[in-house]
């Protein structure tokens, strides 16, 4: 390298000012941050990205399943044999598991019994409309199964109500069961009328069995309520007695204190007179 080349290489090479450097770096960082945020936003706002497709599909599935579940759970026309019936039962299972208090459990069991009865009523109505004996036979066996389930639910509800320790809550649960039993009897009468029209002996017998069981549980609950009210009365009485005893003790103590104060007053007066 000759002198000229050296001189050319030595031509000044100023640096970027700190201010300009800071500005450029700021722009670079802003751009990086902006593009990252854009990427994140694009996933959800660009409908053709893979992740968005998956998210939207999942959301759609959830919506469809959710609405189907709500439809299935609240539809009395979904009876045993319907393709959505297993879904209905699964939801009921979830509902039962989500009832955390004993009172809530009793309410859920009552609701489930009512659903079974409505289903049974629908099936009995169907039996009148349909002349096909095989489907009638299938419906009858499903009605009987539903009625068995009603009795089972009632048994469980009564047992649960007995486990409630709080007297007020227990009373509330038992009253709810008794009230529901009235509705159940009404349903059973309606189903019985239809079964009589169809001359479904099996169903009529099952209804009688269910009615007997309900009456038995009602009696049981009545006995329980009598015992509960006796227990409640005695509890109140005991409490009242205790309060009166305490009040008497307190008043005795007060009078004793007063007497002792009077005597000590007399003694002090006597002492003063003796000194004088």
């Amino acid at each position: 390298m000759d002198n000229l080349e050296k001189n050319l290489s030595n031509l000044p090479k100023p640096s970027l000012s700190k201010q300009a450097d800071f500005k450029i770096k700021f722009k670079i960082y802003s751009f990086i941050l902006h593009s990252k945020l854009q990427k994140l936003g694009r996933v959800f706002f660009r409908p053709y990205s893979m992740l968005a497709k998956v998210s939207y599909t999942a959301l759609l599935v959830v919506i469809i399943l959710g609405s189907t579940a709500v439809y299935a759970a609240n539809n009395d026309n979904i009876t045993p044999g319907h393709s959505f019936y297993p879904l209905k039962k699964t939801i009921e299972n979830v509902e039962e598991n989500l009832s955390f208090t004993k009172n809530a459990q009793v309410d859920t069991l009552n609701k489930m019994s009512e659903r079974r009865l409505k289903e049974a009523l629908n099936m009995a109505q169907e039996n009148i409309a349909v002349e096909d004996t095989s489907s009638q036979g299938e419906n009858n066996s499903n009605i009987k199964q539903s009625l068995d389930e009603v009795v089972d639910n009632l048994e469980e509800a009564v047992a649960t109500s007995k486990e409630i320790s709080n007297a007020k809550s227990a009373k509330k649960a038992k009253e709810a069961i008794k009230k529901k039993n009235k509705d159940i009897i009404q349903y059973l009468d309606n189903i019985g009328d239809m079964a009589e029209k169809n001359q479904d002996e099996g169903v009529i017998n099952k209804i009688d069995e269910a009615k007997k069981a309900i009456n038995k549980y009602n009696d049981d609950l009545d006995e329980d309520s009598e015992k509960d009210s006796e227990r409640y009365d005695s509890f109140i009485e005991n409490r009242r007695d205790k309060n009166t005893d305490k009040q008497n003790e307190d008043s005795d103590k007060d009078s004793e204190d007063r007497n002792s104060n009077n005597e000590s007053g007399k003694d002090s007066r006597q002492d003063r007179e003796d000194n004088d």
Binding site: L4, E5, N7, L8, S9, N10, L11, P12, K13, P14, S15, L16, S17, A20, D21, K23, I24, K25, K27, I28, F31, I32
Partner: protein, 162 residues
Amino acid sequence: MNSKSDNFISYYDQFKNKIFVYFLYRVNFNREVAEDLTSEVFLKALKSFEDFDQSRSFQSWIYAIAHNHLVNYYRVANRETQLLEDRYLTKGDIDKVELEYELEAIMKIIKLMDSSDREILLMRFVDQLSNTEIAMLLDKDEGAIRTKISRSLAKLRELLDK
């Protein structure tokens, strides 16, 4: 920040002054314009950094972007003629870079040279690019670049001797 962004920042720190000097010598030592162009080039590079092949030389890549950006800058703003006319450095410009007497003479002569000679000398000695890199930038054969550099140097010597 991910590693790619970190890489870009480290490349920026490494080449910011080189790119600034590249522009400074080509925009009549106007610091503001050179700074703006430097900023634009790095942002342009950042936008297409995803496509940058890490096995390639970043220097060649960033100079290629700078070169194209400068050509575009001249073209779009129709400044090329004006810049060529104003290429003669004023006393103020020279003061700005605080040139020594000998270097000042060289700068004055360079400005009188043909733009292609001037460009190749700046690339080789100010930007300190290798012949291969200059060949890539100007899309020419490496041998041709070597010859061009020696011819331009000879021309400069001739002008300095006058």
